[in-house]
């Protein structure tokens, strides 16, 4: 790669600091828009998912982790071969990537980092709600969040009546739920009460019993729900295992296996959302990227800048949107990590504004305490 920091900025930069945003009331905005977040826990390596092509320094520092056979996205970036669906969608302007991006967190703790990627805050454990939950609440979209996991992810907390889907092996009788519900009184039981409210309002299709080990089935049901015009508007998937300190590998290693999981979920969503895919945005979320240099176990350490993988019909075009910081030692964060030049929260804020039909300026204030987050909707999304 022969470009260096700030000599290119893909996408129009003139609108970076907000031109006005006035949502049009049209048939398009009446159509339900879906926002799907896939959490990649452990620290997703942006340079494995979307590697820079021909960077000698990267090759030298990652001798054992080098990828062959990447898909070429453009002259500067490739795509990991396990992310096949993104390549397919790229050709249809339905996949894009934001690179050298992260939440504004430079510590290297998973727990602090994951807390912050979900709360969107600056101080770990300080906020008890997630940016997505607050975004839904601010947009007055209640009871439309769906988590594909047993616990309710922090990301979705902050708005009441979220649902989750991870069916048990057998049915629970409605009568039993109602009976327990009537017994829950007292202020200290608010959370359980509101959760029971949600359970009682679940659609019939969610009252199934299945093997929740099967990610395919879960993604399939999520797609079914999201497709329904009156169904959820937000879904959150949770993947872990990206913390590859050892045996990270290249095309077939431990990181590749995790990317393959992402690929599977997106493939199922794409296939089963059908036309609703056109009104959908899928974005990944992670706590940090990984070090440029491989470590003693042919893995990588906790780093800083990473990438966001995006898919869906609401993307503006296929692109690698980045303000590339470069990989020379002095260009790295603390001399070791890919830098982050785009606050990833700006991407999420813009995505929410598009999917929830809300002014990004309004959301930025309601959700992210008015932090300086440029509106990227015009660069990244269809508005």
């Amino acid at each position: 790669m022969n470009c260096t920091r700030r000599n290119f900025l893909i996408g129009g930069s003139t609108t970076l600091f907000l031109s006005g945003y006035f949502p049009k009331i049209s048939f398009a905005s009446m159509q339900k828009k879906n926002l799907i977040i896939i959490s990649l826990r452990g620290g997703m390596d942006g340079l494995t998912a979307v590697p820079v092509i021909g960077d000698k320094r990267l090759k030298k520092l990652r001798k054992k982790l080098i990828l062959e056979d990447v898909f070429n996205l453009n002259s500067d970036f490739g795509l990991h071969p396990k992310l096949e669906i993104f390549h397919k969608l790229w050709k249809k302007n339905q996949a894009a990537f934001v690179h050298a991006t992260n939440i504004p967190y430079t510590g290297r703790s998973h727990f602090d980092g994951q807390n912050l990627m979900e709360t969107g805050a600056h101080i770990p454990y300080k906020e008890k709600t997630g940016w997505l939950g607050r975004g839904l609440l601010a947009s007055n979209i209640i009871g439309k969040g769906l988590a594909i996991s047993l616990p309710m992810p922090l990301l979705l907390r902050g708005v009441p009546q979220n649902n989750n889907f991870f069916p048990s092996p057998d049915f629970v009788e409605t009568k039993l739920i109602d009976q327990i519900y009537t017994e829950f009184k007292g202020e200290h039981n608010e959370l359980i009460k509101s959760t029971l409210d949600t359970i009682r309002q679940r659609p019939l299709s969610m009252q199934i019993a299945t093997d929740s080990d099967d990610r395919k089935k879960l993604a399939l049901e999520a797609a079914k729900q999201l497709k329904d015009q009156s169904g959820p508007r937000v879904a959150v998937f949770d993947l872990d295992g990206f913390d590859t300190h050892a045996a990270q590998g290249g095309v077939d290693g431990a990181h590749a296996d995790e990317l393959e999981e992402v690929n599977k979920i997106v493939t199922i969503l794409h296939k089963n959302l059908g036309q609703a895919f056109d009104n959908t945005l899928i974005l990944t979320l992670t706590e940090f990227g990984r070090t440029i240099k491989q470590n003693g176990g042919y893995g990588t350490e906790h780093g800083y800048g990473s990438a966001i993988l995006m898919a869906g019909g609401l993307l503006k075009k296929s692109q690698v949107y980045t303000d590339w910081p470069g990989l020379k030692k002095k260009e790295l964060f603390e001399g070791r990590d890919l830098n982050s030049t785009i606050d990833s929260r700006a991407v999420y804020n813009s995505a929410m504004s598009v999917c929830f039909n809300k002014d990004p300026e309004f959301l930025r204030k309601e959700v992210f305490w008015g932090d300086e987050l440029p509106d990227l909707s015009q660069e990244l999304f269809k508005i």
């Binding site: 826990r41 510590g107 290297r108 703790s109 998973h110 727990f111 602090d112 994951q114 770990p124 008890k128 988590a147 047993l150 616990p151 309710m152 907390r157 649902n163 989750n164 889907f165 991870f166 069916p167 048990s168 092996p169 057998d170 049915f171 629970v172 009788e173 039993l176 739920i177 009976q179 327990i180 017994e183 829950f184 009184k185 007292g186 200290h188 039981n189 959370l191 359980i192 959760t195 029971l196 949600t198 359970i199 679940r202 872990d240 300190h245 050892a246 240099k293 470590n295 003693g296 176990g297 893995g299 350490e301 906790h302 603390e334």
Partner: protein, 478 residues
């Protein structure tokens, strides 16, 4: 004093236990000595299981992968056979049985609750084959014996245990200026150092920097498993001078002179006796036993007990219980699924775990469904104890355990699975009433909710009854 105290600090009262005249004393007297394991079946040693771990990874990695590199199908088959032969599918089930047998029958259930607490504080998360072979014995052999010693001694044992070192990759951490580091161009792996600071001792409240993490990682270099071609990573832990970073180190402003293997004990001493560490761990203890957001009034006496006893865990535990007793009537605590299951098992004398005879394993075929039952239930209610997703272990906060599916799983368990675990002699309505009376002040109200089914003893009838009583507000949240 409410009967819920027996669930706050233990697992409730079994049908043949009666409330004590002095519940506080009852609880405090359980903490001085380590109760023996009661499980009559096999209790393998950590070392034995590490050997099995070695046989499994060596067999797979060094033998089968090479032998069947061109035949995926044959490879899969051979691998399944190896799983059976090495007990890869069995030992975790046995560990769950040992654990649940203990919490069900122990004469010192309060001690057992602390055992669960510490095992989760120094959690081993789901990684490699640790849950299959090592996490259970680690809980028994590393955590448990240290519960009557000091916190510092516990941290020392944990930090140099094979299980934690493997879990957090310290064997892959080389001092860049060490002999091997220079020869092989290797460097540190910060994982273990970071978690020692963040999770095990001082927490981020101590304000340590990236440089502190690096310096601590330097101190820790050399603490690794012995590696050889046959045992791979399952050799004993030792201190490899040739991996150790030379020179003085500075952590949190304290200088540690170049002193090889002795550096670690010194830095652990300073971390484990650091006021911020004491506050952090005391808060966690109060959170576990009292309420999600413990106040300074609850935490401070624990800190005092800690300081007065120089971190003696017996004294600390006693003070935590004293505070739990003091605040029992005015605080609420939601219990995570495994503790809830243990309580149901003890209060209603459920048929779990399976008898030790039936848990017996011959290494000739897959463990059967009955042998897998308890572990399966734990997974389905969302709390497989040795498979926390991350090194910070399982959450102790209600908000992490209340979601539509997690609540439904409990309803499902109590109404569908539990009836099959009721012993044949315990199927009468009177039995349930007696258990309720033994454990709940408002047993009369609870009884009225299931009165419609008082004549029923079928699985369905029992499901109707247990489904309700196990999920009432005062049961899910004391």
């Amino acid at each position: 004093m409410s009967l819920n105290f027996y669930r706050r600090v233990a697992f409730g009262l079994s049908p043949n236990e009666k409330p004590d005249k002095d519940p506080l004393n009852w609880a405090i007297n359980q903490l001085d000595i380590i109760p023996d394991f009661l499980w009559p079946g096999t209790i393998p040693t950590e070392k034995d299981l590490r050997k099995k771990y070695g046989e499994w990874v060596y067999g797979d990695r060094e033998v089968l992968r090479k032998k069947f590199k061109n035949d995926k199908h044959a490879y899969r088959k051979a691998k399944d056979e190896l799983r059976i032969k090495t007990g890869e599918r069995y030992f975790e089930l046995n560990e769950h049985a040992i654990r649940h047998f203990q919490t069900k029958y122990s004469k010192q259930p309060v001690f057992e609750r602390f055992w669960l607490f510490w095992g989760n504080h120094f959690a081993i998360s789901e990684k490699d084959f640790l849950a299959e072979f090592s996490t259970g014995p680690y809980q028994r052999e590393i955590i448990r014996p240290n519960m009557v010693k000091t916190f510092e001694e516990m941290v020392q044992s944990v930090t140099t245990s094979w299980c934690m070192i493997h879990h957090l990759d310290n064997s892959e951490s080389f001092g860049p200026n060490s002999k091997k580091g220079m020869e092989w161009g290797e460097t540190i792996n910060e994982n273990h150092a970071r978690e020692l600071l963040e999770l095990h001792t001082v927490s981020p409240n101590a304000g340590y920097t990236q440089e502190d993490v690096i310096q601590l990682a330097y101190i820790m270099t050399g603490w690794a498993h012995k590696w050889d071609r046959k045992n791979l990573e399952t050799g004993d832990i030792w201190f490899d001078q040739e991996m150790h970073q030379k020179g003085d180190k500075i952590v949190l402003g304290v200088k540690y002179k170049n002193d090889a293997k002795r550096e670690l004990a010194k830095v652990i001493h300073d971390l484990a006796t650091h006021p911020i560490c004491i506050k952090f761990v005391s808060t966690k203890l109060c959170r576990h036993f009292i309420t999600d957001e413990p106040t300074d009034e609850m935490i401070n006496p624990v800190i005092e007990a800690w300081n007065k006893s120089n971190g003696n865990l017996i004294e600390i535990h006693k003070e935590v219980i004293t505070q739990a007793y003091k605040y029992n009537e005015i605080t609420h605590k939601f219990h995570p699924p495994e503790i809830w299951l243990m309580q149901l098992s003890r209060m209603f004398d459920l048929n779990i775990p399976l008898s030790f005879e039936k848990m017996n394993y011959t290494f000739k075929s897959k463990p059967n469904n009955r042998q897998r039952q308890l572990s399966w239930i734990l997974r389905e209610i969302g709390h497989s104890p040795y498979r926390a997703k991350q090194p910070n272990g399982w959450s102790d906060l209600e908000v992490d355990w209340v979601s539509p599916e997690l609540l439904l799983r409990r309803f499902w368990f109590a109404s569908v699975e539990l009836p099959m675990l009721v012993k044949s002699e315990n199927r009468s309505h009177d039995f349930i009433l007696a258990c309720l009376k033994n454990n709940f002040e408002d047993h009369a109200n609870m009884a009225s909710l299931i009165d419609n089914f008082r004549f029923g003893t079928s699985d369905y009838d029992l499901g109707q009854k247990y489904g309700v009583v196990c999920n009432l507000p005062g049961v899910l949240k004391i």
